[in-house]
Subunit: 345 residues, 2 copies
């Protein structure tokens, strides 16, 4: 089968590899129907050291179960499933607490012998815990939105949930990538009536407005902070959803959060140390929260709205590629000519 590997910064290749097979009795093999490129894939695209053996890529996919191990009890060959971006047993205390990203027996794709989702098929460990079955006969038009449940919709939702967004809170969303836009959508779902979207790509922020943003701030840095403060009587917003992961986004979050407020990060931080002292977080009693979304926890919750078409997170996909064009898809996301690239095998 074909699968996507990265060999170093900017070096993405689609190669032929053996088809995945069941290795553990709890595995399933899923034939991929749709997968995609994630904004977080751009981090290694910028800084992966030369990796002669290559690194498998992709952590978002939906598909059809092709084989199951003998201990898999809830899935059958032919089931249509959504895979969240972390695999998990579904039974440990962390999974029961809806923190599947910290599952005691789980892990992430593209690590420890578990290959990625930008491939024609994937071996899924702990299939009963990991995969969520979707009713049969789903319209093809819903596939992009279903695919967002693997990661970006759940991640935007996680940002809003951890941030404590409600009808009583004002919100700033930093970042107009897919996660930022879906954080806008989720903030709206949680009832926020004032949602400031910080982003400078008009086609993207237009979609953000469609998803519920009430204000768009294209400025960045100090000018961006001033603009948000201007919009909020000088105070900033109760909640800031940070969907980028670079230090300037963190600094922007500090600049626009209201005293007593919350910064909820879902952009994977590309830094380790940051300002948390009296002048930034502590003095104004600002809370810093967030992390990798337990997307698995949110799939059942968010699925009905996707299936009935009332929520259309799949609008974040603005380009579709076949396997040959996956490297071009990465390049398009990197140069911001594509918002999010869908892969159709």
């Amino acid at each position: 089968m074909r699968a996507t590997y990265m060999y170093g910064a900017g070096d993405v290749r689609v190669i032929d590899v053996p088809d995945p097979v069941i290795q553990q009795p709890t595995d399933a093999v899923v034939r991929v129907v749709r997968s995609c490129v994630c904004g977080s894939d751009l981090h290694p695209y910028h800084n992966l050291p030369d990796t002669p053996g290559g690194k498998t890529m992709g952590h978002e996919f939906i598909g059809v179960v092709e084989d199951v191990g003998r201990d898999v009890s809830t899935l059958r060959v032919g089931d249509f499933v959504i895979a969240p971006f972390a695999w998990s047993d579904g039974t440990c205390d962390f999974c029961q607490e809806d923190l599947q990203t910290s599952c005691r027996h789980g892990g992430f794709w593209n690590a420890n012998g578990v290959d990625g989702g930008q491939a024609e098929a994937v071996r899924v460990p702990l299939a009963d815990g990991t995969l969520v079955k979707v009713p049969a006969g789903v319209d093809d038009a819903l596939l992009p939105s279903l695919l967002t449940l693997s990661d970006v919709y759940g991640t935007g939702y996680h940002a809003a949930l951890k941030g404590g967004v409600s009808a009583r809170t004002t919100v700033t969303v930093i970042g107009d990538g897919a996660v930022g836009l879906l954080a806008v959508l989720a903030a709206r779902q949680f009832g926020a009536e004032r949602i400031v979207l910080m982003g400078r790509h008009k086609d993207r922020t237009d979609l953000g407005v469609e998803f519920g943003a009430t204000d768009v701030v294209a400025e960045r840095g100090t000018a961006g902070i001033e603009k948000v403060r201007e919009l909020t009587g000088g105070d900033g917003t109760h909640i800031v959803l940070e969907a980028v992961g670079h230090m300037p986004a963190y600094e922007q979050a500090l600049g626009v959060v209201r005293a007593g407020g919350v910064i909820s990060r879902v952009g994977v931080p590309q830094y380790d140390e940051a300002s948390v002292g009296f002048g930034t977080l502590f003095g104004p009693n600002v809370t810093l929260t967030g992390g990798p979304a337990p997307a698995r926890a949110y799939i059942e919750r968010l699925l009905p709205g996707v299936l009935d078409g009332s929520v259309q997170p799949g609008k974040v996909f603005d380009r579709t590629v076949g396997f040959d064009d996956i490297p071009a898809g990465y390049a398009a996301m990197d140069d911001r000519t594509a918002l999010k690239v869908l892969i159709r095998p």
Copy 2:
């Protein structure tokens, strides 16, 4: 009158200064009945640069109203009052949200012309918003506990409240100073059944056990982290209340917090940057919260238990000094021969 000034690291003096007078119509002047030295006073005691003019000290006091400005409407001469460690108008949106430390017109003692509480009398700005009246005829034996409502009891309570302590959470408290011990007390009040206290002064941790700590860990650094993990099946506790403010305490908090948990800081951070990246806060979805306690918000809430004697936070005072011995009181807290020093004019 006599008042306490600091002129540099380790240089505390009690000097004669003019009695305070009403400056604004919203001021009151309070004759101090009890004040005290705070663990946070030790930070300037270690690192205050030479300050020829001196810096007033003290932010915790109880006393009797001696004079009021013409716009003060809720207080009369002779009222017995508690002053929280920040003054505030009580009417702005932040005050209404119980975040008086961010009051739009308020501030802290020992800054901007507002002198400190380690004095025989204090001018209190925005007296109606700041001071809380206590019923007349309080037994002298209750004075130490009433004084803790100025800061340390409210601060320990704030740590537990912001941390989200409940009967379903395990808790680690870092620091066996007055705030750490009262964070133990507060965690117990919020229902926590497992409270690990990290501290190495047995007389203090004994009081912590009296306040509700179920385990005491005297080890620090890696050994301390291992010990807490050992006590909690390897996982750490849901909530960590950090009542020190130095970087090793932050690192200890990172080491003992369970995935998905909360680090609630009330020790004034003596650092600006700290680790918040994937390997520390983000990956395990750990929340960092806390800040200066809006002690004003908690006085009414915590006062009944103090007045009826069912809660005795005043036990943190283990030494009483007169004005002549205030410098010796600082030295005793600094060398850890005193836990918390009460000042009786």
